[in-house]
């Protein structure tokens, strides 16, 4: 990098000349790499089962016939259209679970940042430690405890554990300490505002960017949830998409009494990633805004 202009005034600074081409090349290569599997999925979702194996243009281009709408139709009829039920379940788990997890994390983060209470340091350190525990260690005991209170095979079995989001608490705590001045809360209190009213009317509006981020993080977590639901659910009517599709994959893998539904697997996977991808594209500024808080030194 030799031809960089560094005397330009103003807050904008630019890379120019050869490095600019270099930057473009790097970014284009990166985009190709990160989009490659996505492109594959788009192509695969337009193929029939045998087209996936014997498509005349290979795996990265459309087959001679477009079977996307057929696949969509099949998704609507296979096992009485259970795929759309899974889709709706995933939405439910992600939105309700994500909302609950966010509410709880925001309250806890605010509590940690703005109140001095007994046991706080220990409590918070335990939460940080909790980030390190392997999920597998908890799945079996959780399952056994849930079946003890008849919670398995219910929506609750998936929704309740999703509410736990220690990282969200961590983010909210740091955001509150940084962006929410104590003086502001004190002023509200002096004006006679109760603790809850202060929280809802003074603190929440300022916390909005971080809340959005935690909400998105929780939704992604719930949307990707796989391991625990696959253990606590038996009734296919309650499955989220990830569990349903992995069951279809097992169904398609060689064995006695198997049937090949690879085409439903690829088109189902494609449709299932659309909502999240759209959410990412349209809400990206919230990501950048909110995550900055957690990342700067507290």
């Amino acid at each position: 990098m030799t031809t960089i202009e560094h005397t330009r005034k103003g807050t904008e600074h630019r890379i120019q000349g050869n490095p600019r081409i270099f930057t473009y090349v790097v970014l284009i290569l990166c985009c190709c790499y990160f989009l490659l599997p996505v492109w594959w999925l788009i192509i695969a979702s337009t193929k029939t089962n045998s087209g996936l194996f014997n498509g005349i243009h290979g795996s990265m281009w459309f087959d001679s016939t477009n079977a996307f709408w057929d696949n969509l139709k099949q998704l609507g009829t296979y096992q009485d259209g259970i795929y759309w039920r899974w889709f709706a379940n995933t939405l439910l788990y992600a939105l309700v679970g994500g909302f609950g997890a966010t509410a709880i994390s925001v309250m806890a983060g605010y509590g940690f940042a703005k109140y001095r209470f007994r046991g706080k340091t220990l409590y918070f350190n335990i939460i940080l430690g909790a980030l390190m525990i392997p999920a597998t260690a908890l799945v079996i005991p959780t399952f056994l405890l849930m079946s003890d209170i008849n919670l398995t095979d219910t929506y609750w079995a998936v929704l309740l554990p999703v509410l736990l989001n220690p990282f969200g608490v961590y983010l909210m705590r740091i955001y509150c300490s940084q962006s929410l001045p104590d003086e502001m809360l004190e002023a509200a209190r002096v004006d006679g505002s109760g603790e809850f009213r202060t929280f809802f009317q003074v603190a929440l509006p300022i916390m909005t960017p971080a809340i959005t981020t935690v909400f998105l993080l929780s939704i992604v977590g719930a949307w990707n949830n796989f391991f625990l639901p696959s253990v606590v659910l038996t009734n296919p009517n309650l499955f989220p998409i990830t569990v349903g599709l992995s069951q279809w994959q097992a169904r398609s893998t060689a064995g006695s009494a198997a049937e090949q539904i690879w085409n439903l697997l690829t088109s189902g996977a494609f449709i299932s990633v659309i909502p999240m991808v759209l959410a990412f594209i349209f809400l990206q500024r919230y990501w950048v805004g909110g995550l900055a808080t957690g990342s700067v030194k507290a």
Partner: protein
């Protein structure tokens, strides 16, 4: 502090209830006990729609293709009892779920589909989790099923029956007729001819492989050993604390050396069965033969080709070692009644009657691609003369049905999943890292035996 105490008290309650649940089993006589609650399943949620809403429900887990039709047929023809069906997962994942419901002490279905090889793990040791159907008159139906299937659900016992056989996987050879015709080679009937056919094909310029030996194959390798008269696993219901494990037999080594040698000569492929590449090669004509169970038609052959006329395959008898090579089997499953069945008697009748009539059996064959164990169907002329479009309209059952009838049954271990995983690793290292067959089988045998002992079993001879 107050918090901690509270948690511990909750935990103590949980712990006590768990240990009580664990003890509950040992008080019983070792067999699953009967119960007769006709309303326990009234609120069960089912994948299917029940026809007679007020009738008693029996819950069933099964993953057979086309099972919806079977369930609907059952519910339409029975007014006093209705099947409430869910797909509890395919094979292994269903067993895991079942295992979990056993740990939890509830949540298991009344009737469950189990592969023959998966059954011993649920009737071994301290408590049996499957109901002995001999107590529900199942003995009277022995002649309805092939000998091999019957032996597989009774584990060599004459008094106990742990499931109702549904399908099996008679072991046959799929032949890519186009390849054999093109190079003018005779379809082999013995393993010696099989090897020669591979050499001839290669010499004449065939670029594909003679076949694929699946080191990740599980039951397929047991079938290959059984052909040579070798039994590697032994477990009988009458002696549930003993297991036999022996790969260290001359016949097993001969089979493995045969395949290892074919691989060394470059005549065969050794790709994992479950990889999608294997399927692709199959469809592209890169395999001249495939030695596999009869259910392979429904799965691979249909999946690999766009239309039936694209498929060049036909079925032949599996190659033999000599005239006394037995008919063998790979896979198949049955309906068992679980110890958690709410109304054991009703569950037992559902298990038997689901595939217990002509309509269901025919649907199993045509919609499900299952190969029947029902002797009545196996000897019906319609079944024998049925043509398979994906096999060039061959009357394949003429070849498969005798194998199904000739099969004598197999035995598997109460920890078959573990054994299969160990088996896969051992066989893969024989073709991929050049481990010698002799050392491979002896370390496989000793590691499986020590696992069995650690699980409390006594080792017996497999003979």
């Amino acid at each position: 502090m107050f918090q901690a105490k509270k948690i511990l008290s909750v935990l103590a309650t949980v712990a006590v209830s768990m240990s009580l649940a664990a003890c509950g089993g040992s008080n019983s006589t070792g067999t699953a006990s009967a119960s007769a609650d006709k309303h326990a399943n009234d609120n069960a949620s089912c994948t299917n729609k029940v026809v007679h809403a007020s009738a008693e429900k029996v819950t069933v887990w099964a993953w057979y293709p086309g099972f919806q039709k079977i369930v609907d047929h059952f519910n339409q023809t029975h007014s006093n009892v209705q099947v409430c069906w869910n797909n509890g997962g395919q094979g292994g994942s269903e067993y895991t779920r079942f295992q979990n419901t056993i740990k939890a002490g509830k949540g298991a279905p009344d009737v469950i589909q189990l592969e023959y090889e998966a059954m011993p793990q649920f009737v071994a040791g301290k408590q049996k989790y499957l109901v002995d159907l001999a107590d529900y008159g199942m003995k009277a139906y022995k002649s309805d099923y092939t000998a091999g299937a019957w032996n597989s659900v009774t584990f060599g016992s004459s008094s106990s029956i742990y499931a109702v056989p549904v399908d099996a996987g008679p072991f046959v050879m799929y032949v890519n007729q186009a390849v054999f015709d093109k190079y003018g080679i005779k379809v082999p009937t013995t393993w010696a001819e099989f090897e020669q056919a591979g050499k001839d094909l290669k010499a004449k310029g065939y670029t594909g492989k003679l076949t694929n030996w699946q080191t990740d194959g599980t039951a397929v390798n047991i079938a290959l050993f059984a052909q040579k008269g070798a039994q590697v696993y032994k477990y009988t219901a009458s002696d549930p604390t003993k297991v036999g494990i022996d790969f260290n037999q001359t016949s097993v080594k001969q089979v493995l050396k045969y395949w290892q040698n074919l691989a060394k000569e470059g005549l065969i492929d050794t790709a994992d069965q479950s990889s999608t590449d294997t399927m692709k090669k199959f469809g592209a004509g890169d395999y001249a033969t495939y030695v596999q169970a009869s259910w392979f038609i429904g799965y691979y052959v249909k999946g690999a080709f766009k239309t039936a006329t694209d498929s060049p395959f036909k079925i032949y008898e599996a190659p033999k070692w000599n005239d006394s090579t037995p008919d063998v089997n790979q896979g198949g499953s049955a309906f068992a009644v679980t110890y958690q069945a709410k109304d054991t008697k009703a569950a037992a009748s559902v298990a038997r009657e689901l595939y217990g009539d002509d309509y269901a059996q025919n649907s199993g064959v045509t919609d499900g691609g299952l190969f029947p164990t029902w002797t009545k169907l196996l000897s019906s002329s319609e079944f024998i003369t049925q043509t398979y479009p994906y096999l060039n309209n061959q009357k394949a059952n003429e070849i498969i049905a005798p194998v199904a009838k000739g099969w004598k049954g197999d035995q598997f271990l109460p920890f078959q999943t573990y054994a299969y995983d160990a088996q896969q690793k051992a066989f893969a290292s024989m073709v991929k890292s050049g481990t010698s067959v002799d050392s491979g089988v002896s370390s496989l045998t000793s590691s499986l035996r020590s696992y069995a002992e650690q699980q409390g079993f006594t080792i017996e001879s497999v003979k």
